[in-house]
């Protein structure tokens, strides 16, 4: 169910006015919707996020643009990997775009975010350009980590990566939240992990510390139903990941609906900022690709399952359908955005494949913070390389 806040006739009126009044008109006429999100399951919470969410046209197009950019970027990375231009490990995020877009919409750029290795989407939403992400994947000097990190190690201001070891980022997130609390800057830390990591011991240590000291930490479990190749039923004694924090309140959210994610993340952020301590969110989402590029993704799940999710719950299609059916935007506008994004990704690919690799001096840089110059011993005693921090 939905209800319109502006009448359709206003759109007709828009056509009658001249362009000079377009700014005023946009404010007057830009349609926004109050949509019902699906209800969240709650744990130790009296009430959850609001069931009705407002979506303005600008917001809708913004989320669409973000999600579509991430989608196209991931598909391009897939292509480049198959051409062996990207090597190593590459974990793609397509299918889960609503999580990144929704969370970013709910938090401020000054808030903090840390995630595991499926990080390209978050790297983008935290402000890194597609160009720098693709260049990092191909290991060039224009990459966001100067080509030294690769797929799993991308960073940005207030975005702490990009972490290879499963579950290791969660205590880090709790620590970042402690810093926010200590500095009193009203910021929160969003700490993401997956359904596989949910069984790591360090998470429970983090939950305990965060709850004990009431840290402003939003623990988010992106449950895409498979930890690499193991389905959640075979890995976890309790698949209610939002309850696994026990004494920490939790909520379970439909992670394929960007509005649900946004409202829930907003609710969680308000909870933390009010000093109520940590909160756990479980986003139920799905990834289309396998765990990584070396995993075909069909040995532990059927193609039919993937197809079903793609046709019924694809986050980008769902948003687009909603906006189209409520006349918030036209098919042409979406097409235009698609074309722009395609061009952006093509340009980024061009840069990523033509940029030179980092110079050999970079091999030894950034080991320590050092003053004076450190000599790095290596292969032979007479060949020492210099390290600068």
């Amino acid at each position: 169910t939905w209800c319109r806040t502006k009448k359709e006739s206003i759109r007709l009126l828009k056509g009658l006015f001249s362009k000079n009044h377009s700014a005023l008109l946009d404010w007057v006429c830009s349609p926004s919707l109050l949509l019902t999100s699906s209800k969240c399951d709650l744990h130790r919470l009296e009430e959850g996020p609001p069931v009705k969410a407002e979506l303005t046209r600008e917001q809708g197009l913004q989320y669409y643009r973000t999600m579509q950019t991430v989608r196209r970027m991931e598909l391009k990375a897939d292509q480049l990997y198959k051409q062996k231009i990207i090597r190593g490990f590459c974990h793609l995020y397509d299918g889960q775009e609503a999580c990144a877009a929704g969370i970013e919409a709910a938090i401020n750029p000054s808030d903090h975010l840390i995630t595991a290795y499926r990080a390209h989407g978050y790297t983008y939403t935290r402000g890194v350009s597609v160009k720098e992400i693709l260049a990092e994947l191909t290991g060039r000097r224009g990459g966001v980590a100067k080509g030294k990190g690769g797929s799993m190690h991308m960073y940005a201001p207030h975005f702490y990566g990009g972490n290879g070891i499963v579950g290791a980022q969660v205590p880090l997130g709790a620590g970042i939240a402690l810093a926010c609390q200590y500095q009193g800057n009203n910021q929160v830390c969003v700490t993401l992990y997956g359904d596989g990591a949910a069984n790591q011991g360090q998470l429970f240590e983090s939950y305990n510390m965060a709850a004990l000291w009431k840290l402003p930490c939003i623990f988010i479990c992106e449950n895409n139903k498979y930890g690499m190749g193991t389905s959640v039923e075979r890995a976890a004694a309790s698949t209610d990941y939002y309850k696994r924090g026990d004494f920490i309140p939790g909520l379970r959210v439909d992670g394929m609906d960007v509005l649900c994610v946004r409202e829930a993340a907003q609710f969680a952020a308000d909870h933390c900022r009010a000093g109520k301590g940590p909160i756990i969110m479980e986003l139920q989402t799905y990834r289309y690709h396998g765990h990584s590029m070396s995993d075909p993704g069909v040995s532990y799940r059927t193609r039919e399952e993937i197809q079903e999710v793609r046709s019924k719950s694809d986050p980008i299609s769902m948003l687009k359908e909603r906006m189209l059916s409520h006349n918030m935007a036209s098919v042409e506008e979406f097409k235009e955005i698609d074309i722009e994004i395609r061009k952006q990704v093509e340009d980024a690919t061009q840069f990523a494949t033509s940029d030179p690799e980092p110079p050999l001096e970079e091999l030894c840089n950034h080991i320590f913070s050092n003053n004076p110059l450190l000599e790095v011993r290596g292969t032979n005693p007479w060949s020492k390389l210099k390290s600068v921090s």
């Binding site: 070891i165 499963v166 069984n199 005693p381």
Partner: protein, 361 residues
């Protein structure tokens, strides 16, 4: 057009050159003393060893992440179907839990074979291995022990692994009395050494060079056999320089030995250490007494790498026999790099250079 075709070929060759392996696997001759043999690669020889173990030892269990369907490197393929899901089973994603659980299983009397998916992930379990497994016998005055525990993990560089899929952590564990650390160089060695580790009454860590899983193919005996631990193997006799390594690096050194013979007329003795802890001091020292020069090579960073232990012990034992300072050709003291891997690893040219310097010292 012709230009486009040339351009394409150039970039392909460049890519191929960049991605060529830094070694050539050199198979051992077919062993005749262990019965009929079969062509197997490294992961198949591991499967064969585990198969033999599960068949002969009713208490043996294999567990780890994804071992049920065969493992990410296919080392446990077919075992669950053959021996049942109570003997080959998956654990959730928790290394500390896996090893701790394994220690418990071993102490209670069953043979536990735990798999850690990559050696890079072994660190959450470090406390359990070092503080619990290694010290069990000592602290209980021999009343309890977890000798039935064997931990297997894929190890070493693989060409594109970067920071967290390429590490060689043997030096961390070499510092811990109570453990045995073993690294094979080939399928025949792997099966024999793994069966020895499983039979050995001490907790063992068995690192398998992941780059050799498919690349190394040999004729491996089908029946079980053991290769003794703590015995280094002299692969090639020589009189001028002793070369010591383990795992993948042996194949690099074998090539270096033939390069040295060809280009410098230098005769090299190549030794595969096989067991890192406790290591065969006698064989290495005997060799250095004969040749007077020692080169040790490993992928792990040079500072604190296992070459430092060998170097220090050899200079203690063979000081007057040394003609030149001991060379350690190892990885740089940096995290294992992403794009810089070809520059980082101690390839044959760096080892060759070191031999030249030692000869001309």
């Amino acid at each position: 057009s012709a230009v486009a075709i040339t351009g394409c070929a150039c970039s392909r060759t460049k890519t191929q050159r960049r991605h060529a392996a830094h070694f050539t696997f050199q198979p051992d001759p077919v062993p005749s003393q262990y019965g009929p043999t079969q062509k197997m690669n490294l992961f198949q020889s591991i499967t064969s060893a585990l198969d033999n173990t599960l068949a002969s030892d009713p208490t043996a269990v294999i567990f780890g992440e994804d071992v049920a369907f065969g493992g990410v490197f296919r080392c446990t393929v077919g075992l669950r179907d053959k021996y049942g899901k109570d003997r080959v089973f998956n654990t959730p994603l928790c290394e500390q839990g896996i090893v701790g659980f394994g220690i418990g299983v071993a102490v209670a009397g069953a043979t536990a074979i735990a798999e850690i998916q990559f050696a890079d992930y072994i660190f959450p379990a470090f406390d359990q291995i070092v503080n619990e497994a290694a010290k069990y016998r000592y602290r209980s005055g021999n009343m309890f022990d977890c000798g039935n525990l064997t931990i297997r993990a894929p190890w070493g560089c693989v060409g594109h692994g970067s920071l967290y899929h390429s590490q060689s952590p043997e030096a961390f564990f070499a510092h811990c009395p109570g453990l045995k650390v073993v690294i094979p160089r080939s399928p025949i060695q792997a099966k024999g050494l793994l069966l020895s580790c499983i039979a050995d009454k001490n907790p063992c860590i068995f690192f398998e060079p992941k780059i050799l899983y498919r690349a190394a193919v040999e004729q491996v005996p089908e029946d079980p056999y053991t290769i003794p631990l703590s015995q280094a193997e002299v692969l090639q006799e020589g009189s001028d320089v002793t070369l010591v390594a383990w795992g993948t690096q042996i194949h690099v050194l074998k090539e270096v030995a033939s390069m040295a013979q060809e280009k410098l007329g230098v005769s090299c003795e190549v030794i595969d250490l096989q067991t890192i802890l406790p290591w065969d001091i006698e064989t290495v020292c005997k060799s250095v007494v004969k040749t007077g020069r020692l080169l040790i090579s490993h992928e792990a960073p040079v500072t604190g790498g296992f070459a430092s232990e060998i170097s220090s012990t050899v200079q203690e034992e063979c000081f007057l026999n040394l003609e030149a300072p001991i060379s350690r050709v190892c990885g740089y003291d940096t995290p294992f790099p992403h794009i810089f891997e070809p520059f980082y690893i101690p390839d044959k040219w760096k080892c060759f250079e070191a031999i030249k310097k030692m000869i001309n010292y």
